[in-house]
Amino acid sequence: MRLKKQLFPILAIMGLLLLTLLNACGDPTATSAPAATTAAPAATTAAVAATTTAVAATTTAVATTTTAAATTTPAATTTTAAAPAATTAAVPTVPTTFVAAGQGCANGSTKLTWYIGLGAGADADVIPKEKAWADNFNKSQTEACVAIQVVHNPESYDTLKAQIAAGNGPDIVGPVGKAGRASFQGAWADITPLAQAAGFDISKYDPALIDFTKDEGVLVGIPFALFPSMLFYNKALFDEAKLPYPPHKVGEQYQGKDWNLETFTALAQKLSVDSKGNDATDPNFDAKNIKQFGFFEGPTDSRGIATNFGGGLPYDPANPKAAKIPDNWRAAFNWYYNSVWKTHISPNDDYQNSDLLKKGSTFDSGNVAMQDSHTWYTCCFDMKKLNWDVAVLPTVNGKTTAKLHGDTFAILKQSKNQAVAFKVLSKMVVDKDLYQIYGGMPAIPGDRAGFFTALSARTGTNKIDWTVADEMLKYPDLPNHESYLPNIIKANDAFTKFRKLLDQTPGLNVDQEIDKLQATLDALFKAAT
C-alpha cells in the first residue's frame, strides 16, 4: 500500500524529467514536416549546442505564445570545401559524428584528440581505416594516446567552432587545406617553435611547399599531401565517339593541333551530346535535352575556375585594400560562362543537380567526358567500375596551370598538449598508410612511387597514367587559388556566390557581374582589420 502511494509521484517525476529533456532537446514531432503552419518552429543546427546563446533568442518569441521548444536538427549544408559534393546537398551516408576512444594506449600516455572532417576523411569507407591507424599508432609508442573524432564535412565547421568556444577543442585537426584553415583564422598554433623543440628538420622540405603551408606568414603544419589538378576523362565516351584520348604530357599535340583551350573546347563540344545523338557542334543540338557533357569544372569556387587561366590575386599586393580582378581571370569567367550557356559543354546548376549527373557526383554518373579535378577526387567515384584515365590540362595563352591543393595536419592553439601533438603530427605527415587513406601525393618525392603503386591497386583493370599527376605538379597556380585574401571568409563567400551565379543564370552580362564582384571585394578588403 505504501509502495502504491509512492509509485505515482515516482512515475510523475520520471515523466517530468523526460518532458524536461524533450523541452531542452526538441519536440520530435514538431520538425517532422516542412509545413509553415501548425508545426512548431524549427530552429538551427545540432552543432551549436555549446553556443546556443544567439540561437535560443530566436525561440523566445515562440516561448511566449506556445510551449514549443528550441529544436535542433542536423543541417546538411552545401559547402565548397574540398569535399566533392560541394555543388549539392548530398544525402549523408555516414553518421554525423563518429568518435572512437584511443585503443591500445600505454598507461600514463597523453590523451590527444584528432579531429577529422574539415577536409577529406569523413567517408564511410575511410573511417575504419583511420580508426585502425590510430589504434596501431597507439600501440607503437607510449607517449601519446590518439582518439579520433570524425565529423561529416557539412557539419564539421560548426562542430569545431562549438568545441573551441566551449574550451574543449581537439588537439590535431586534419587533413585540412588552406580553405578549411581560413575558416578558423588565428586558431592554429605556430609549428616552428614546436619543430625546433622536437628537433624536427623542416629544411628537408621544398621551401615552396613550406611557404604553401603558411597562413599569413605563420607555419601551421608540415606539408603532408599534395593534390594537383588534372583532367579525369571517361575513356568509354571517347571510344563511343571514336575520338583519341587527350594528351598525357605537356607539349603533346591532339590530332595534329596544339593541346590548347581552343582544341579542348572543340573536343568537348564533340563530346557533348543531346538526347537525339547530336553533338554540340550540330545546328540541331538541343541544349534543353543534353544527355552527355564534354566537360565539368570540378567542385571549386570561381577563384578556382579563374586560376585555370593563370594564377593571380584579386588585389594589387602593393595595395591589398583595393580589389582588382586580373584580366586573365575575366577571360576565365567569360570562357566558363560561355561553356555553360553558349557552347553547352558544361552543365548548368540544374543539370549538375539532376539524376543525369547523379545529383552532383558528375564524373561517377558516366555522363561527363572530362572533368578538371584534383587527385583527391579519386575518393569520390567508382575507380573500378568506370573506364577512365587522366590527362594533362590544356594550355591557355601558351601557359599550363594546374591548380594545387595541399593538406596538412594542424594543431589548435587551444591545445594543452602541443608538444606531444607535434610529435604525433610529425609521424602522421610521413605515414604511408595515411597517404593511401587520403589519396594525396606525398609531399616527400621519395614516397610518391609507393603511393601510386598502392593507389593503382584500387583502380581494378584500369591502368592509370599517374605520371600526369607528377607532370601537373610542375605547373601549380601561383599565387594559389586558396591563398590569403583580406577578410578571407567573406571574400571566399563572394567567390562562391559568383560561381553559383554563373551556373544558375542565363543571359548575364558577365563583365558587368565581374565589376560587381570587384566592387564587393573592394568593400570587403577595405573593411578588413
Partner: protein
Amino acid sequence: MAVDAVKTKPAGRGLMGRQRLRWGLFFLAPWFIGFFAFQLLPIVFTFFLSFTDYNATKEFAPENFNFVGLNNYGRLFSDPELGNSLGVTLKFTLIAVPLGLIVPLMFALLVNSKHLFAPNVFRTLFFLPTVIPVVAGVLVFQGVLNPQSGWIDLLLKVFGIEGPRWLSDPTWAIPALNLLGLWGVGNAMLIYLGALQSVPTEIYEASVLDGANGIQRFINITIPMISPVIFYNVTLGVITSFQYFVAALLIGGRNGDPQGATLFYNLHFYRQAFVFNDMGYASVLALFLFAIVMVLTTFMFTFLQRGIYYASSDI
C-alpha cells in the same frame, strides 16, 4: 453570548498546504531547471554578446569578449543583406500563411465530408508526409523540383508547358519552398478536422431549416465556429515563417541561392554567426527577430482576436 469566531488558518497555510506546495514546486523544478539552463541563460548571454565582438573561433571566455558598445546595433542600419533577408522572409510569409490556412482547411473539409469514400485512407495519406524528417523531405523535393529530371517539370512537359527552373530562378525559389511547405499540411489538416467535428450539428440543422445553402453555412457557421483554431494556425504560421531555416539552408545553401532569393532572415543570422563567426552582430540579429515576432504576435492578439468567436463566455 458571543460566539468566538473560530480563527481558521488561511487556505494552504497548514501543514498539508505547505506539503502540497513543496510537492508542486518539486514537480515543476525540472521544467524550471530546463528553462533556466537552456532558454533563459542563453538569452541573457545573447544580450551580453550583442555588446561585444566575440568571434566564434575563440574560446567562450572573458578574455575573448571585447566590449564595443552599440556598434553592433548600429550595423543593423548599414547591413546590405538585412533588407533583402527581411524581404525574402516577408514574401514567403505572405504566401505561406494564407496557403497554410486555406489548403489544410480544404483538405479537412474534404476528409470531413460524408460523401468521401474511405476518409480514413485519405486522412492517413494527407498526414503521412508530416512524419518524414525535414531533411529527407527537402532532399526528395530537390529531386522532384529539378527542371531536368524532376517529375513536376516532366509532367508539365507532357502538356507542352516549359516548367520553371524552380530552384535556380530567383522568381520561383520562394514559390518552390511554399510548394514544399504544402507537402506537410497534414498536421494542420488534423487540427482543422478536429475543429470541424466539434461544431455542433444542431446549428447546421437549424440553418438548413432556415434555407441556408452550403456556402452560406460555411461562411456564417463553420468559419466563425472554427475561428479560434484559424487564429491559432495563423499565429503559429507567422511565427514559424519568420523562423524558417532548415529547408532554406538545404535548398539554397549558405548563400541563400539563387542570388539571395532564399536568404531568409534566420539564414542571414546563421551566416553571421556560423559562417562569418561574428557572434556579436548575430546576437543583435537574434534579438531583432525576437522584437519583430513579439510585435507581430502582440498585433495579432490585440487586433485579430476581435474577430474571433469564442464559445466559452470566459474569453
